[in-house]
Amino acid sequence: MNSFQKLFSEKNKNILSIYFTAGFPELNDTNVILRTLEKHGTDMIEIGMPYSDPLADGPVIQNSGMKALQNGMTIKLLFDQLKGNKEKINVPLILMGYLNPVLQYGFEKFCADAKAVGISGIILPDLPITEFENEYKNILAQNGLNFIFLITPETSDERIKKIDEISEGFIYAVSSSSVTGRDQDMSAQKSYFERIKNMRLKNNVLIGFGIKDRETFTEACKYASGAIIGTAYIKAIEKGGDIDIETQTFLNSIL
């Protein structure tokens, strides 16, 4: 059983996954954020690897990435920071970013180092299925890493089935076709969410993009095993207050 399957076997409703950008607000906040998120009830954490050209992100995550890069964040430094976390953090950890920095780091080395620091899953939205299958699938599998695919309202049933077949972590359902951080009317997506639900996929589904408060979280959880929050959490900690307190306040407002 991989760590996602283990999580879902223990809890398959109202799962909360939080995204944050490594190196933001301050370069060395990574471990503080991981610990406080786990302590205050996050079930899964996505660690964002900043990139100069984040095509799928809206202004809030873009700016956090720019700041993180200015702070000096790199993939190498991130792995250094994450060393020694394996025993301390128990929730599944995911690395999320864009393909180019990972290619420059070296895909094999990236996977090996990710495994060494206890990462369970990888999300690279701009790595397409064809290239995944031809070049990268085996390397990921050899390192026990689950690759997480996105689906959108535009994704055909046939393609969703294909993605379900090749996934072993979970499926990331983007709430609407949009970049991160745009206001979404979750109830307007009802037919899309129901379509996915009715497909009875083997993988659990988490809904992300535009989830920002208790209302949107609860609505998303009606149709899926849980939801993912990014932009709203970045906003909560970007003002530079005490991260532990801000995180607790934020999570209390959701859960």
Partner: protein, 398 residues
């Protein structure tokens, strides 16, 4: 695909050798897939070809002349022909592509057109065809470029386009492209992304190259008429993303006797830290949906290039050109800001033609190649210099 089209056409997944592909997030998948499934069918259709060719002829002013530049030839001791893309409507080759893509967008039933632009030439060419087809037009342009290309911003507005400043990142062409892609992600159903060069995810590089290939198609016919041979010794073109070069090289790629010379912008010098010579400074990476050479840091962060010409100020290069470089089918040279300006003044003085700064880079390598007296050298004069008068006037005054 014919087995001979080794360089000019990608494989079914959009790869030229190991470069290309469609590295797009799932949000763009269905749009890109839809294009991929339909573009060849649509553009090979008779009614499309008829409308495309009519517009190229009567609207854009094609065929453009192949001009024998006598005084320039004398200076360099060889036979130089200029392919006069500068005489196209809107002042550059860019319109060949925008005419093609707007007809495609129309046939796909799209109502809203978005584009990115650097110097504003592609933005103007897009706004032009949108006016022609009465389609909504939104052009993303880096905040910095808006400030330095005021006349083209005014032209786009007069043509009815909305010019949206890209304020993210370094606020130039790369960021304008990011913003256009984000807009496309947010508007997947009604919007068509009209890319301005042979970059982006498959099938864009192939599609844009096909629309621009009219340039080399004409050169072959014109040379045959003027010189009794279709094949020149050299074809020289500047490369930003690579669309004018793709068009000028296209029908010569499989004729290996023709030397293809691609000229990149060296900025203040290749090693100066202020350059846009992507093949010299870049490494293999993924930018804007395709795998190619990219100017980037060790950590894979894309760096900001520099060139005096906004149209060449791009940290990547189309995948077709990456393959021409890697296989050595084309020779990649470069010219600095100063060399390009000098070449622009030289052409103006010798031939009475003021070239665009981009095109001046192609002219700037004439002195760096050892030609024989009877070599036939074709330089693709991709655009005219009207938009660059500010830069030229400053040089005149200094």
């Amino acid at each position: 695909m014919s087995s001979q089209a080794k360089y000019s056409q990608p494989d079914e997944n959009g790869y030229y050798g190991r470069f290309g592909g469609a590295y797009v997030p799932e949000m763009l998948y269905s749009n890109v897939e839809n294009l991929k499934e339909n573009y060849l069918k649509i553009i090979n259709d008779e009614s499309f070809q008829k409308e495309f060719n009519t517009l190229l002829k009567d609207y854009a002013g094609r065929p453009t002349p192949l001009y024998y530049a006598g005084r320039l030839s004398e200076k360099y001791g060889t036979e130089i022909f200029l392919k006069r893309e500068d005489l196209c409507h809107t002042g550059a080759h860019k319109v060949n592509n925008t005419i093609g893509q707007i007809l495609l967008a129309e046939r796909l039933g799209k109502k809203r057109i978005i584009a990115e632009t650097g110097a504003g030439q592609h933005g103007v060419a897009t706004a032009t065809v949108c006016a022609l087809k009465n389609l909504e037009c939104i052009v993303y342009m880096g905040e910095k470029d808006i400030a330095r290309q005021a006349p083209n911003v005014a032209r786009m507005k007069m043509l009815g386009a909305k010019v949206v400043p890209a304020v993210s990142g370094s606020k130039t062409l790369k960021d304008a492209t990011n913003e256009a892609i984000r807009d496309w992600i947010n508007n997947p159903n009604d919007t068509y992304y009209l890319i301005g060069s042979v970059v982006g995810p498959h099938p864009y590089p192939d599609m844009v190259a096909r629309f621009q290939s009219v340039i080399s198609d004409e050169i072959r016919k014109q040379l045959k008429e003027k010189k009794g041979t279709e094949l020149p010794g050299y074809v020289i073109a500047c490369v930003g993303g690579g669309s004018n070069a793709a068009g000028a090289f296209y029908h010569f790629m499989e004729d290996e006797s023709v030397q293809l010379i691609a000229v990149e912008a060296a900025g203040l010098g290749v090693e100066s830290g202020m350059s846009a010579a992507t093949t010299q400074l870049g490494t293999v990476g993924v930018l804007h949906g395709s795998k190619s050479y990219v100017m980037q840091t060790e950590d894979g962060q894309v760096v900001e290039p520099h060139s005096i010409s906004a149209g060449l100020d791009y940290p990547g290069i189309g995948p077709m050109h990456a393959n021409l470089f890697a296989t050595k089918r084309a020779k990649f040279m470069n010219a600095t800001d100063d060399e390009a300006v000098a070449a622009a003044f030289e052409l103006t003085k010798l031939e009475g033609i003021i070239p665009a700064l981009e095109s001046a880079h192609a002219l700037a390598v004439l002195g760096k190649i050892k030609f024989k007296k009877d070599d036939i050298v074709v330089v693709n004069l991709s655009g005219r210099g009207d938009k660059d008068m500010d830069t030229y006037i400053k040089k005149l005054q200094s």
